[in-house]
């Protein structure tokens, strides 16, 4: 059955007396790549934070894999299959690349702290399991596992964050401004990585102001002043008068 993995209906948000989101309706199909663009201050990040659970849902509904999201915590949402990245990559600076990815895989383990304390065989077995999983993921993304994460350049940090997110085997990957601070070459790597992830069966929600990156999306929604002002494929968006007005003022 190919339905929608994520469905937003009439999502609104106010900070104090200030309306950030009026009413946003959009959906991400399973195995789809949906882009969300908009200029600064249009409410993209707010929407992103509401979906991933950092901000409370005030009005409207969100459905993820057929179940409503209301008050679930950030970890709960991750465990139900969604994972996000951050505008400025939040990698674990004082750990190695491999350890970074291993943290992403920790949630699939079952043993508890007491087994860890006593270093019981089962705990060690699971540790080996996530280590080999992390090594595989690192290999897929061409990351050198034993490097300290703090030494990575900007582009590699993005890739590491995505690799770490995928180690937990999510169903929906949400990327927040993944192209910020990347050079052309890194941008191409990022686009290739997103395509590959998607071909492996993952749905992707891409939030960015960057139109070039949106080439990977099957459909793009344009957010301005807390409302979707246009949606469609990239070619249509580029010709859309509203969008040109917002982005170019012409």
């Amino acid at each position: 059955m190919s339905g929608d993995i994520l469905k937003l209906d009439g999502v609104g948000h106010r900070f104090g007396g200030f309306t950030v989101l009026r009413s946003v309706t959009l959906s991400v199909p399973e195995r789809g790549i949906i882009g969300l663009i908009g200029p600064n201050g249009s409410g993209k990040t707010t929407l992103f934070n509401i979906i991933s659970g950092y901000l409370p849902l005030q009005t409207g509904t969100i459905e993820f894999r057929g179940l409503p999201l209301t008050t679930q915590s950030v970890p709960d949402r991750n465990r139900s299959g969604m994972v996000r990245t951050f505008q400025t990559p939040k990698i674990f600076e004082r750990m190695s690349v491999l350890e970074n990815i291993m943290v992403g895989a920790c949630k699939i383990t079952r043993t508890g702290m007491i087994q860890d304390l006593l270093s019981l065989p089962h705990a060690r077995g699971e540790m080996r399991q996530i280590r080999s999983l992390a090594e595989r993921v690192a290999g897929e993304f061409g990351l050198a596992g034993d490097l300290p994460a703090s030494t990575l350049p900007a582009g590699q940090r993005r890739i590491l964050e995505i690799a770490r997110a995928l180690a937990g085997q999510p169903k929906l990957l949400m990327l927040d401004e993944p192209s910020a601070g990347l050079n052309r070459e890194e941008m191409q790597q990022l686009i290739a990585a997103i395509r590959r992830i998607n071909e492996a069966g993952l749905a992707v929600l891409l939030v960015s102001h960057d139109m070039e990156l949106m080439a990977v999306a099957s459909a793009v929604h344009v957010l301005n002043f807390g409302e979707i002002i246009a949606k469609g494929n990239m070619a249509a968006i580029q010709q859309n008068a509203n969008v040109r007005e917002v982005y170019l003022g012409v």
Partner: protein, 316 residues
């Protein structure tokens, strides 16, 4: 490469076992305290180094461990082991009940909350004199014995105290190198990212707090049986600050740093005792110096020195 390393460990073990016979009774006594403080300091160090939590409340659990041994053995006549067990259970339970809400705080407020816990605990120890003996304390706590082998001298207690210390270090080292350790360090570097990867931070922190409390309680129980006497003066806020000094001065990056820190706070005052209370000033200045200059504590300094001398990897 295995053999020289094994020989080194063996040599270390022999030296450790021989120490009480080589040193004066007084020096051995200090080493027993080093071991007890190592156990309590490990808990504080685990919270600080792995979770970035400043725990200024360890004396509360140290006190609970000590008083449960004192009360159960002296007042109720129960066997020694019950004191350890009840102290540990009570400490872990309190850590759970108090830690769950308090560990929602972060940074300053969390540090202040643990400090407040220490003050509350020391006031309660003072007030509940039916349990603690108040200022007079409880004396005559029986010496521990192992199958008829009475641990009634510093030389004998030394082996138990260090046995517990090494065991605690082993457990903590297991934890640090396990998945729990990974999640903890992830949380320390970026709690937001760790939460986004499906880790329940509050429960994770609460469990580590419970472990820290357990270690504090065991250290307190050892202390009570070793000195045979407990009173409120041993469980004040100053003691909590002292326990925090141990991992900070020694260095939170390695377990041996905690041992070094514990040695520092037990042995330095003795070395300087002829100058009066000057060691207190030095502790303060050392703490400031470590915070400003030596983020990895004395252990970090030792490693740098070792690195300069060409010894790589002094310890793992």
């Amino acid at each position: 490469m295995m053999r020289p390393r094994f020989a080194l460990v063996l040599l270390g073990f022999v030296l450790w076992a021989a120490l009480p016979h080589l040193l004066t009774r007084h020096m051995t006594d200090l080493l027993v305290f080093t071991a007890i403080y190592t156990v309590a300091g490990l808990g504080v160090g685990l919270l600080l180094g792995q979770c970035g939590i400043v725990n200024l409340g360890q004396a509360a659990f140290y006190g609970i461990g000590a008083y449960s041994c004192a009360y159960l053995t002296v007042e109720l006549g129960y066997p020694n082991v019950t004191g350890f067990a009840v102290g540990a259970a009570v400490s872990v339970l309190i850590a759970l009940v108090v830690g769950w809400p308090v560990l929602r705080l972060t940074g300053y407020f969390l540090a202040l909350a643990t400090l407040a816990l220490s003050i509350i605990a020391s006031s309660i120890f003072y007030e509940w004199d039916w349990l603690t003996g108040g200022e007079l304390g409880i004396g005559g706590i029986p010496k521990l014995d192992f199958f008829g082998f009475k641990l009634d001298t510093p030389g004998r207690f030394y082996y138990l105290a260090w046995g517990v210390a090494f065991l605690s270090m082993l457990l903590v080292s297991n934890l640090v190198s396990s998945r729990t350790g990974l999640m903890l360090r992830g949380m320390r570097d970026s709690s937001e990212a760790t939460a986004s990867l499906g880790v329940d931070l509050q429960w994770l922190r609460t469990r580590v707090f419970m472990l820290s409390a357990l270690l504090g309680s065991i250290a307190g129980s050892l202390f009570a049986h070793y000195v045979s006497f407990t009173s409120v003066q041993s469980f004040t806020v100053d003691k909590s600050i002292g326990f925090l000094l141990i991992p900070v001065l020694g260095g939170v990056r390695s377990l041996w740093g905690v041992v070094l820190g514990a040695m520092f706070v037990t042995i330095l005052p003795e070395m300087l005792s002829q100058f009066g209370d000057i060691h207190q000033i030095l502790f303060g200045i050392a703490l400031v110096a470590v915070v400003v200059l030596l983020p990895d504590g004395l252990m970090g300094l030792l490693r740098q020195a070792a690195g300069k001398l060409g010894w790589s990897r002094v310890s793992a």
